[in-house]
Symmetry: C2
């Protein structure tokens, strides 16, 4: 129906959000139009702002609005330890433990040949250069303990050890099959202490 | 952190969507920024368009961009029957059955005193006027079969019957395709009482 064109367009657009199907998209659209038009405009502006202003840190690849993110720019962090993670959410979880004071490299994904995600997509080359800056003494692999996360850790570990870089992995205190983002903080802290 | 201000703002804004908590909002924001920036801009535009151009039909209160929605404006619909529903989603479901050819009145909610939703919020007065236009011969109540939906149907039914309007309610019964063993007892009892 032509008289609900912009509503239909909104429902279609909401379906681009991960985990949102037709029913959820309808519910969201109706809610915003009926009860929270201000919220719809706030969200519209936030989406545009974030899409236009958020880039990647040149050093660690996480999201940032500047050239270098706040953590990489912080001179008080221990630059000899480099923690490799899959996503900014994983990084946020690690930061919340308060147990790690080094720097990060965020892969923004993980190796997944079936989905066409190869070494280039996770910045493997940049990670190699980053890890051999002459300051980093230890690379701590904190990818997820899933099949793909383990494969990613293995590939990175192989490549770094070939270049003589010391590599450790979060201890298997983290339950196998779970994603770091959802693990309780104490477990993450223990796994950090027991890294091998 | 200031260097992720627009990302944080986006995550907060996404939480205004119904059913979206912190984790989902993070996941959505990361997904859009990492894999679908075009989608973020499409969604931003769709939100703005819908919020600015979608209003309510003067006759049935559903969402429309014109003064009158396509169904109300359709002269081929049976104007003697008026079906009262809670939401545009319910209306869409009724339309998909292909079994109803009359007109609608969409309450855009249901009576819920605990949430502060009263008769005025569901357009009770407009419904009374709509039902007494001299053409409508039957008002079919198709609100949900929940406590609030039933209370809403009861209130509307009382008010309309006092004005001499013929009111019917969707039949309660066993859902098509279900096995009796798994149907709740109240439904079976109603289906038995309403047998035909």
């Amino acid at each position: 129906m032509n008289d609900t064109h912009s509503l239909d367009t909104l429902i279609q657009a909401l379906r681009r959000l991960p985990g949102v199907g037709v029913k959820s998209a309808q519910r969201m659209a109706f809610h915003l139009l009926q009860h929270d038009r201000a919220g719809a405009l706030v969200l519209a502006r936030a989406l545009q702002q974030a899409a236009e202003h958020t880039g990647h840190c040149e050093r660690c690849h996480t999201f940032t609005e500047g050239r270098i993110c706040a953590i990489c720019a912080n001179a008080e962090r221990d630059a000899t330890r480099l923690c490799v993670l899959e996503t900014p959410a994983d990084q946020a979880a690690m930061e919340r433990t308060g147990a790690f004071h080094g720097l990060y490299f965020v892969l923004m994904g993980r190796l997944s040949p079936l989905d066409g995600v190869g070494p280039r997509d996770i910045g493997m080359q940049q990670l190699m250069e980053r890890a051999q800056d002459g300051v980093v003494q230890e690379v701590i692999l904190a990818t997820s303990f899933t099949a793909e996360g383990e494969a990613t850790a293995y590939a990175i570990s192989e490549a770094l050890q070939r270049r003589g870089v010391r590599v450790t992995r979060l201890a298997r205190g983290v339950p196998v099959g779970s994603e770091l983002e959802y693990v309780d903080l104490g477990t993450i802290a223990h796994a950090l202490a027991d890294r091998r």
